[in-house]
């Protein structure tokens, strides 16, 4: 027992603390970017011009329809291939060189962290957009007519009438998605980010003590999810209005 305790405190926790920060650095920007993407895409899907609707729907089907691991591989290993391909095209590089833009294809080579954040944001955004879309469609057309009758432009109507209500209605769903994101951030280890799960796997491999390591990493995720749930609940309370009460389970 003593041995387990000292193993966990001396070998597991220091390593996992590093992974913990990597997970936070991964999950927080991905959650924010994903939410932003989801709102923009959700609005486009409901109110956008027809071509934008098509494009946005296509985006959602693609990202919901393919495994996240595959998406991550594409961003991390696939994009550099495209970079190499562009750099192998003499005439194209000639033009870019002349414009002093030869560095542009290199933008496609992402750091592991960059690729993971891009992948999570885009995937999460697709799911968020579903909740946002549902929220938007729950706003009665009467309120939109009332806004127009007061002289509001379509943009003002969306901004001041539709979105504030849709966001409140979408919040519980989006909150769930953020909790999922924290858990699927563990996939970042496949593109060599040393986040919690990656670190845990490394420690387990070198020490052969799977039980202690993976039990401890479970506690870390539980802590993160609890913290996120608490923050989301606080946000929901802050945004709660008569008629838009937080539904407590």
């Amino acid at each position: 027992m003593d041995d387990t305790w000292s193993f966990v405190t001396e070998q597991v926790i220091p390593g996992l603390n590093l992974g913990f920060w990597a997970t936070v650095q991964l999950a927080v920007p991905s959650a924010l970017l994903g939410l932003f993407t989801g709102i923009v895409v959700g609005v486009l899907r409901v109110y956008g011009p027809r071509p934008a609707q098509r494009l946005a729907n296509g985006y959602v089907s693609f990202f919901r329809g393919t495994p996240l691991v595959v998406q991550l591989f594409c961003w991390y290993f696939g994009l550099p291939q495209i970079c190499l391909f562009i750099e192998s095209l003499g005439p194209v590089m000639g033009v870019l060189n002349a414009l002093h833009l030869a560095w542009v294809p290199r933008l496609l080579v992402l750091s592991p962290m960059g690729a993971a954040i891009l992948g999570f944001s885009l995937c999460s955004g697709a799911y968020h957009s579903e909740y946002v879309r549902g929220g938007l469609m729950s706003i009665r057309t009467g309120q939109i007519k009332a806004a127009q009758a007061l002289g509001m432009s379509p943009m003002q109507t969306v901004l001041h009438v539709v979105l504030p209500q849709a966001v409140r209605r979408a919040l519980p769903g989006c909150g769930n998605e953020i909790v999922y994101l924290i858990k699927y951030s563990s996939l970042a280890s496949v593109v060599t980010v040393n986040e919690l799960t990656g670190m845990a796997r490394g420690i387990a491999k070198s020490t052969w003590r799977n039980t202690e390591v993976f039990f401890t990493v479970g506690v870390y995720y539980l802590l993160l999810v609890t913290l996120a749930t608490f923050i989301l609940g606080w946000v929901e309370d802050r945004l709660s209005l008569p008629g838009f009460e937080r539904r407590r389970e």
Binding site: R140, G142, Q143, K145, A146, A147, Q148, A149, L150, G151, M152, S153, Q156, H160, V161, P164, Q165, R168, L241, P242, G243, F244
Partner: protein
């Protein structure tokens, strides 16, 4: 009749949904400070006419003049300016559910008219007081009765200083005991000289205030005239027959 007396002129407004005409060639002029009342059976096109007037439903044909200026609905800016001058009251209130009474009245002053917050708040409070709701300023739609919601929506429209107010069956969604408070407000507006067009089934109430009745059926204005002309005892107008039937059915809910 002086031309500058005419505030609103509507000519040949028509609208079809698919190949079903729901509004055909609606034409009329309205003088400042008068109240026109639209009556007629459900589905007759009253709501369509009112919403075509401010282009919430784009008419297929027809033209509208406000205060001598023809409206060009293709220009977004002009349309917005025009809509600010034409208030609209809906049957089911259409308050913004996420804003309290004060914010509902104030939002267009802030966002559309670009007023400063203090001035907009003061104006909004004055309009709420006018409809008798100064004490309910911080309640949300979910906390208001139907009659109170409709009064907030009237305050919201009045705050924009409209030249014309369009009312689409403002009391039809209300419980009978709440109709009176809204009718009182509408009566005050009529007496204050606000120009209004109102679709309603409250016949005796509106007969006492209206300058003109328009009877609509199957998308057409089939009769128009003063209440006295159309509703006189020995008059045999369609309006008279329709109104008699209404009061028979409702025991005259207009009282």
């Amino acid at each position: 009749m002086n031309d500058s007396d005419i505030i609103l002129k509507v000519e040949g407004l028509s609208k079809a949904f698919g190949n079903k005409p729901v509004l055909q060639d609606a034409t009329f002029t309205q003088r400042r400070g008068t109240l026109k009342v639209l009556v007629g059976p459900s589905g007759g096109g009253k709501s369509t006419l009112l919403q075509c007037i401010n282009y919430l439903i784009p008419p297929d044909q027809g033209r509208v003049w406000l205060d001598g200026r023809q409206i060009n609905p293709k220009s977004r800016r002009e349309l917005s300016a025009y809509r600010q001058e034409v208030g609209m009251i809906f049957q089911d209130f259409n308050l913004f559910d996420h804003l309290n009474a004060l914010e509902n009245v104030r939002i267009a002053l802030l966002k559309v008219k670009g007023m400063a917050k203090a001035a907009a708040t003061e104006r909004a409070m004055a309009e709420l007081a006018r409809v008798g709701l100064a004490g309910k300023a911080d309640l949300y739609p979910a906390q208001l009765s139907g009659g109170q919601k409709q009064r907030v929506s009237i305050a919201r429209a009045l705050a924009m200083d409209p030249k014309v107010l369009l009312l689409d069956e403002p009391t039809s969604a209300l419980d009978p005991e709440l109709i009176g408070e809204v009718l009182t407000v509408i009566k005050d507006l009529a007496q204050a000289g606000i120009t209004m067009i109102m679709a309603t089934h409250q016949i005796s109430f509106s007969a006492s205030l209206a300058d003109e009745f328009l009877f609509m059926e199957k998308g057409r204005i089939v009769e128009h005239g003063s209440p006295a002309e159309l509703l006189g005892k020995d008059c045999c107008s369609r309006t008279q027959a329709f109104c008699a039937k209404l009061s028979e059915l409702a025991g005259d809910a207009g009282q």
